[in-house]
Amino acid sequence: MRKVYLFLMVFIAAGCFSQNKQILYNFTTVPQSLMTNPGADVSYKFYFGVPLLSGISGNVGSTSFSAYDLFADNGVDFNTKLLNVVHRSSQNDKLVFNEQLEVFSGGFKLGDWLENKGYISFGMYQEFDFMMFMPKDVAILALEGNRDYLGKSFNLGDLSLKTEMLSVLHVGFHKNVTDRLVLGGRAKIYSSAFNATSTKNSGYIYTVPGTTTAYEQVIYSDLQLNTAGIAAYTAEGYEGDVARDIRKKMLFGGDLGLGFDLGLTYYPKKNIQFTASILDVGFVKHSKDVETFTYKGYYKYEGVNPNFDGTNTPDNAYQQFVDAIPLDTIYNAYKTWRPIKFNSSYQYSFNDSRGGADCNCSVSESQYKNAIGAQLFVMTTPRAPMAALTGYYRRNLFDKLEMKATYTVDSYSYKNIGLGMSSTLGAFNVYLMADNLLEYRDLAKANSLSFQFGFNFIFKDSNSPY
């Protein structure tokens, strides 16, 4: 029991980090930037990622508390620290965990070396998502009870979580439609190995002083948890290997879905660049191993009240409660939408005394050594969308090394500094990006960390056939 509670408590953690890949976005020397904007101005003759190592990314973190807040070795009782964390948070605090791993990726240019027929990119990645809002009221009720909260209505709608493991097979196309405009799109097939969604909950529990009874106590509950691909593992008699079965399902043995990304890059002037993308507009239809659990009902608890008519009326309070708010299991298929992400950027490029004279080549940002810009990121969540604003500086060093420094402000943090670099030696490309660098001063107090790295072989699209 304690473990179950602890599990819940750990996830109560109020967090803030999203799938914002602000460093990778528009970092066009890295082909993986096509995954954040299918219309990114990326050119190549062909490229392929080192299998399993071409794109690894993860975010972990939380702002309203850190590992230090809960586990500091400072003599304060753990339960006190836990209570403090819960009280300090709000029900809009969330914990988001995201991990992506590219299984394979590659791309090639269509047509001959001088032709402009566009570029194909394709690949497959595996993704794990977890998002949970802070169930603050429910946590307070579990930790402290209702005695000190007479008159308070505990909101069961605070319960909101979503988790999914899936793999995505995708193919994208982008093309320089004019000298100034690049358009791109990507089609995706999702295969969901498992999904658990409980985002449309409502209900309340309250206790107020009563008249005929000591209190007026009411529970109204409209809770629903959809699960797919989980029932088989929790069923009695399951003796398989969970990890192996999940892997198998991810290779398109799971629930299938469809989606797309769209993006563009536009140069209103030679040194001004505008980009925008919308990602993961799509759904997954869950139909295998589906189990939906509901707790729906209304119950007013009045106590064990005798009639004095000489009989023992068999209406038992506990049974009444169980009947009023029953646990139902439904086996209907359901659909989930992928979190939609929107990115946009505006960039100004320039050269300085350190070199990079203007040339007469076609419009492309790469002739400039320096660029500054701003980016906007918005992502849908089960409640209000989350947004982040990033300012950045980009610099090309010796054509082999490109660096990007970012400063990001979002509703949770105003001091997120990130740094990314991509180095290309011959055809071999290495990239590495990390944000929240200030947090590295004390990892225990870090609220969030994220990183991306990978290895590719990129064969440049040159203006000569060889």
């Binding site: 753990f78 000190d148 000591a214 106590g303 005798p306 004095f308």
Partner: protein, 171 residues
């Protein structure tokens, strides 16, 4: 770069074993029991009844994890008698075999024109809380005492409200 970062980073001392200290100690308040008997209910076919009786299954502690985690329960009673008769109220806690585990008794004086609330708190702790966990049935026995005879038009009622404060310990 990541390695460089990690090599420059520090970490405050953390003690993850504190998880073992984790426990929940919520305190809940809930209705226990309530009734109101009008004076005329003590008169049946013109005859005064000296005793009325009610019984009720008591299953609110049936849930297994609730049983396990129940550490203490305080019962709080409030009685308001507006009948010109004194009463004795006995609340009997019985187990599954109708064996008596516990009796909670109240002496209620007759109403004399001014409201007089009788309050009483019963604390169930240690061995006594185990009796509570075995309780399957509550019986209410009301015995009428001295006072002028009642008839079908006698005013007033005997009212009881009670609540439980339940202390849980989950570890």
């Amino acid at each position: 770069m990541l390695l460089m970062l990690l090599s420059f980073s520090c970490s405050s001392k953390l003690d993850f074993d504190q998880v073992n200290d984790f426990k929940l100690e919520p305190v809940f308040i809930a209705n226990l029991s309530a009734f109101e008997i009008p004076a005329n209910q003590f008169v049946v076919n013109g005859m005064e009844q000296n005793m009325v009786f009610g019984a009720k299954d008591f299953d609110i502690f049936r849930d297994a994890s609730f049983q396990k985690n129940l550490r203490r329960a305080d019962f709080f009673f409030e009685i308001n008698n507006t009948i010109n008769k004194s009463y004795t109220i006995d609340i009997l806690l019985l187990d599954g075999n109708d064996q008596l585990l516990e009796t909670i008794s109240f002496i209620v004086p007759a109403y004399s024109g001014t409201q007089k609330l009788i309050t009483q708190t019963e604390v169930f702790e240690n061995a006594r809380v185990d009796l509570l966990k075995r309780t399957k049935k509550m019986e209410f026995v009301i015995t009428m005492g001295a006072g002028p005879a009642l008839n079908a038009n006698s005013p007033g009622s005997l009212k009881l409200r009670s609540s439980a404060t339940v202390y849980l310990l989950v570890e």
